[in-house]
């Protein structure tokens, strides 16, 4: 990860250094909404899991205290170097209304405190972790394999639809709801009113990990839910409930509210939940749903589909999933790319930035060329994204190399990107023909204070100011000439 912000060893290596995508959304909600959300133990547990390591530690410190603790007492624990991290963590928690807003005492929000305690110690009968369905003797519940296959199929249908839209193919269409969501999130755009075309943010989206992709879409869904007048607390608590459910278990739909039943249908389209029939009284969360608030992979992995190596899992999905986890790309110094995959989606994603040469049943061979990379750059994908995709999906064999990817190839990809930016442009005004050097210096000084000077040359007595600054600079000159 290139963007590790805190050099302190606070984060375990596997954790994300950036805050989770959902947290800013939660912060933008009212205290009332959040407090209603915190009445559900499963929501509190999920949010706790989304917090950073330091925030989690602070919550744990405060959780079992009956009374508030003075700010000074807590601050004594903090070493000077950690002060900023500590303050940031407190700000995050106050923003989420987990921490009560006070300058003298630190205490958890009472609702949050009692719910999280309940989540940890068990007890109560709120059913916030879902109500398991009665055992049905006639039908066996769908096994984990069925759920994994379903989740993978749904999810890849969406991604495959996106990736193929750029190439004029017509793969299976996801449902209307999904299409609408893709359009709303501007990952796809209607072209000439008819067919949907992938956008540049859509291309970037494809290179993210499934977990990030899922949250991208769910966040968009949450924004939509606000507009559809759905109760956000219901929506969020349902998502959190799903995230704490057990994979492979069936749950009853009876305790769900009307809003949540609508939600259930939408989530079925995305592959987060599985139901035998649309009218079924029971549902099972898939791996996409149960890993929403954890660091485990969102899509099935080889260890879960049998525990053994690739050879043992014979189904196409098993192989694809296991390679997805282990990495499948070999990149050589001569720009050749060997991708050990038979997954059409992975092939299609690779096709975004490599030129395909040969295809075999389990292997795709291609080249990174100037043309192929430029095509990707023109689509809005950045050089960094290509490099990070190649390194995240590098074949285990490649992991022996240090650095992972050949430096020549990395540099060349970056150079190809730079080549496109040989010309930088900025709109604005050229100020010239000043009457005297003093005049020039005076106006320039003012423009510099506004931070609008893009270029200056004292000898020629002229400078270039940005468009935004023009009104101010002109006003300044007019006032000056008018006054004197």
């Amino acid at each position: 990860m290139p963007s590790v912000q805190s050099p302190q060893a606070v984060d375990p290596p596997a954790s994300h250094s950036n805050p989770h995508a959902l947290l800013p959304f939660l912060r933008s909600q009212s205290q009332n909404t959040l407090t209603r959300l915190y009445q559900r133990p499963s929501s509190c547990l999920s949010i706790y899991r989304l917090l950073g390591p330091l925030e989690r530690q602070l919550v744990m410190n405060l959780l079992w205290l009956e009374s508030a603790i003075p700010v000074n007492t807590m601050a004594v624990w903090v070493v000077p170097e950690g002060k900023k991290l500590y303050d940031d963590a407190l700000a995050v928690m106050t923003g989420l209304h987990i921490l009560q807003n006070s300058t003298v005492k630190l205490a958890l929000n009472p609702t949050f405190k009692s719910s999280l305690r309940q989540a940890i110690t068990g007890g109560g009968s709120t059913g916030s972790f879902g109500v398991p369905a009665e055992k049905d003797d006639k039908r066996q519940p769908g096994g984990i394999e069925v759920l994994d296959a379903y989740a993978l199929e749904r999810w890849e249908t969406i991604l495959h639809y996106m990736v193929s839209s750029g190439q004029g193919q017509l793969p299976t269409k996801p449902s209307q709801g999904v299409l609408y969501l893709l359009q709303r999130s501007e990952l796809m755009k209607a072209n000439h009113g008819a067919t949907l075309q992938i956008t540049s943010s859509g291309f970037q989206f494809l290179l993210h990990s499934p977990h990030d992709q899922l949250w991208d879409l769910l966040l968009q869904y949450l924004h939509m839910a606000e507009e559809r007048q759905m109760d956000l607390v219901e929506v969020l608590s349902f998502l959190f409930m799903l995230s704490t459910m057990e994979l492979g278990r069936e749950y009853s739909t009876d305790p769900l509210s009307e809003t949540q039943k609508v939600l259930l249908e939408d989530l079925r389209d995305y592959g987060l939940v599985w139901q035998r029939k649309a009218s079924s009284k029971r549902f099972s969360p898939t791996r996409l749903a149960t890993t929403l608030t954890s660091l485990s992979p969102s899509l099935p992995t080889s260890s879960s589909t049998g525990g053994s190596r690739v050879g043992a899992t014979t189904s196409a999905i098993g192989v694809a999933a296991s390679t997805a986890q282990q990495g499948f790309i070999v990149l050589e110094t001569n720009y050749r790319v060997y991708a050990y995959t038979d997954n059409p989606l992975q092939t299609a994603v690779l096709n975004l930035f490599i030129t395909m040469k040969y295809r075999f049943p389990n292997l795709v061979v291609g080249m990174l060329t100037r043309e192929s990379v430029r095509k990707a750059l023109a689509n809005g994908i950045s050089a960094e994204q290509i490099i990070s995709y190649l390194s995240t999906h590098a074949h285990p064999q490649m992991r022996k190399n240090n650095p992972l990817l050949p430096v020549t190839v990395q540099d060349q990809i970056r150079l190809w990107e730079l080549e496109r930016n040989r010309l930088k442009s900025a709109e604005g005004y050229l100020y010239r023909d000043f009457a005297s050097q003093a005049d020039y210096m005076y106006v320039l000084e003012y423009a510099k204070q506004l931070d609008v000077v893009l270029w200056e040359n004292g000898a020629k007595r002229c400078f270039f100011g940005s468009l935004e600054g023009h009104a101010n600079v002109r006003g300044f000159i007019e006032r000056r000439t008018g006054g004197g």
Binding site: T355, M367, T369, R370, E371, E419, R422, L423, K424, S425, A426, E427, G428, Y429, L430, Y431, R432, D433, F434, A435, D439, V443, L454, W455, N457, K460, C462, F464, H470, V473, R474, I477
Partner: protein, 66 residues
Amino acid sequence: MRAIKGILLTCDSAVKQILLTMNEKAPFVIEDLDEFHLVIKADEEYRVRRELEAELEKNTYSLEAN
């Protein structure tokens, strides 16, 4: 004192020379500031960028040209 509306182009000196040659055919440069900066007419940027692109492409050859 005068203020002239335009677009400030920042580029390397090679690109600047190409731009100056292009300017001889169809003028668009307002002011040649220094080695790396030019001010051009605001409505010409798109055309200039396209023509420059075409010009630079002439200097590369492709392995894929088959």
